[in-house]
Subunit: 417 residues, 2 copies
Amino acid sequence: MERITAQYYIETPLAIEQAAEVLAGEQSSGTFTDVPGETEELKERFAARVESIEPLDTVQNPSLPGVSVDSKGHSYQRANVEVSWSIENFGYNLPVMISTLQGNLYELRQFTGLKLMNLEVPPSFSDYFNGPNFGIEGSRQAAQVQDRPLIGTIIKPSVGMSPGQTAELVDTLVDTGIDFIKDDELMGSTANSPFEKRLEAVMKVINRHADRTGKKVMYAFNISGEMDDMLRRYEQIVKSGGTCAMLSLNSIGLSAAKKICDQGELVIHGHRNGWGMLNRHPLLGIEFPAYQKLWRLAGVDQIHVNGIQNKFWESDDSVVKSIKSCLKPLLGGYSILPVVSSGQWGGQAPETYRRTGTTDLLYMAGGGILGHPGGPAEGVKALKQAWEGTVEGKSVEETADKYPEFAKSVQKFGGNQ
Amino acid sequence: MERITAQYYIETPLAIEQAAEVLAGEQSSGTFTDVPGETEELKERFAARVESIEPLDTVQNPSLPGVSVDSKGHSYQRANVEVSWSIENFGYNLPVMISTLQGNLYELRQFTGLKLMNLEVPPSFSDYFNGPNFGIEGSRQAAQVQDRPLIGTIIKPSVGMSPGQTAELVDTLVDTGIDFIKDDELMGSTANSPFEKRLEAVMKVINRHADRTGKKVMYAFNISGEMDDMLRRYEQIVKSGGTCAMLSLNSIGLSAAKKICDQGELVIHGHRNGWGMLNRHPLLGIEFPAYQKLWRLAGVDQIHVNGIQNKFWESDDSVVKSIKSCLKPLLGGYSILPVVSSGQWGGQAPETYRRTGTTDLLYMAGGGILGHPGGPAEGVKALKQAWEGTVEGKSVEETADKYPEFAKSVQKFGGNQ
């Protein structure tokens, strides 16, 4: 029988073997006392199994509160632990899988730290989960971009502009040769920018530009909201000739996201806002390699990974790990496009490329384009130059020497880093 | 214009006022550099506003990693901060509200701790969100229980039993006079217990018992899964005469949960598995008073709050705060029934009542009923006795003196605490 495996990074005051058994018991057939139905035969078939334990360092203070009283004075052992479950335990159901692989585990006082680091699903998952309908190749085709990252930007200010003002900005942007534009995640449908009006105004500009140039800029309309609203807005985008919808993944949740992805007509841009809550603590939550697999199984085509030298707290190492996890095939495919953003202006291109070796990116700059001293057209030009220079092996300085627009970016934004 | 307010508990190496302004800016009109469209007029209307700052203690070590490099050697100031947004920023859209009130905030390196403690929505929300269709009164009516907590149990072992075995256990349980039974959150639809088969077998028993006694035991079938599967299973429950469906709230997400709640025919039992990830760290995530409001707005009728002297890490103080937050009216109503569980066997009843003053509870015991030395019938009896004694003002010992079934519980489980 096929099994699903999960890797955890744990910290415990107990012997690791004992802690691992608690983890496995809690998330399969166990409860806090013996019950009549828990036979040996049932345990054999359905109990979670501890596959491996790798002891790591020992610390003197617990990483999380709530440790058992009787462990005071103990030290706390960290370890990597791998646990597996028979596919029989969940069937093919992502929410129940999450409730099993994560669920109550974070509540256990036998642990003072627990993070889901990765998970592996068996080949039969591909019979039940269609995965991304577009992924990297489909995103490239829709945006008509090959051999370099897609260059994108975010409508800023994120809230407050009317549909007309937004469309005006889009008009400026599409003329710059940009590939992708998105609503900010703070923008849904507001009194001064109702979704339908914004969609209509923006798509008029994009379609007109496409008719003229043959290039249809991809615009990710934020449809995050209630289920029926999302489905209605999705259809409106399709009818208006749009190619993409954006979902705030954590805010709407997995079941709704899958339902939207399953419609299959639009590229789904997955925004991970709220991610810090799930990940910022080193011994609590979930790591990106596990997280992105859930959304790929659900069918998300593009997912945010933050960026090198970002404005947030995340280290470059962590961002690189995230990008690499997206580029690794899942079940032999399930391609997903990593979306690089946060304080990006092109200066981070060489380091991004050096560490990931890929141009399969959607490279987003908000202020980095709109705040360019020469205006957004030069901002977009500068980003493309940054990537051209990068792929040619040039440093930031060398690229700036060659390209005046990028040189202006360096002058304005270079000191921020 | 009405505003939505949020209370945060923060920790920062910066001056608190400065940190609070970063928070407000990031989640409304700001970005990392000035952009042309961010006019004073737009800021006035759409910028988030810092309403109050209450400085708290100062610590020497940051609670979360990722602090700005230039703050090394600083101390870290904690504070309560209240921020408000115009309702214009989101309209009436829970996911966009979450993306605004939480969203990227946890990523900011200007904070070494950030927790959403509570939130207040304006009266107009009641025009857009129906809220729980049943809540406390509706749950009581459906289960035909007044003047004491509903007594419930969980099918254990949680996975591995066939529909026939589950129905057999249900048969035993309904004969005990229990009010409520639920699937474990690990149980969805599995090879050896397909949902439809389990529903049919269980409802046959429950309906037969209801025909005989006039009391229909409430069974929370776990429908958590993909959107269409959930809707189909919901309908199947309705058709089979069931009264309740269970959702793993964090696993399916807010948009799907609201869609299910909006169907309006079944009591929705909200399981919060995964909660520890969002809450266990004192300076990261979300506190229950804020969390439960989101689900009440979505329409969940019953929500898990853990229990006094539980088997997990959570303190009694925190559990009490959670129960009280559920019992506090939201928008003048939006009643939700707190579900007490985790290592409960009746011995915690006096302390639960002393600290919350309520019997408006669904009081769940898994092992505490099925593991009772006299069998489940005595287990249920013991729980009812525990609450009878409690409401009469008796201690655990006094109740045990009066009731032999509860005395056996004390003997078996009393040492666990």
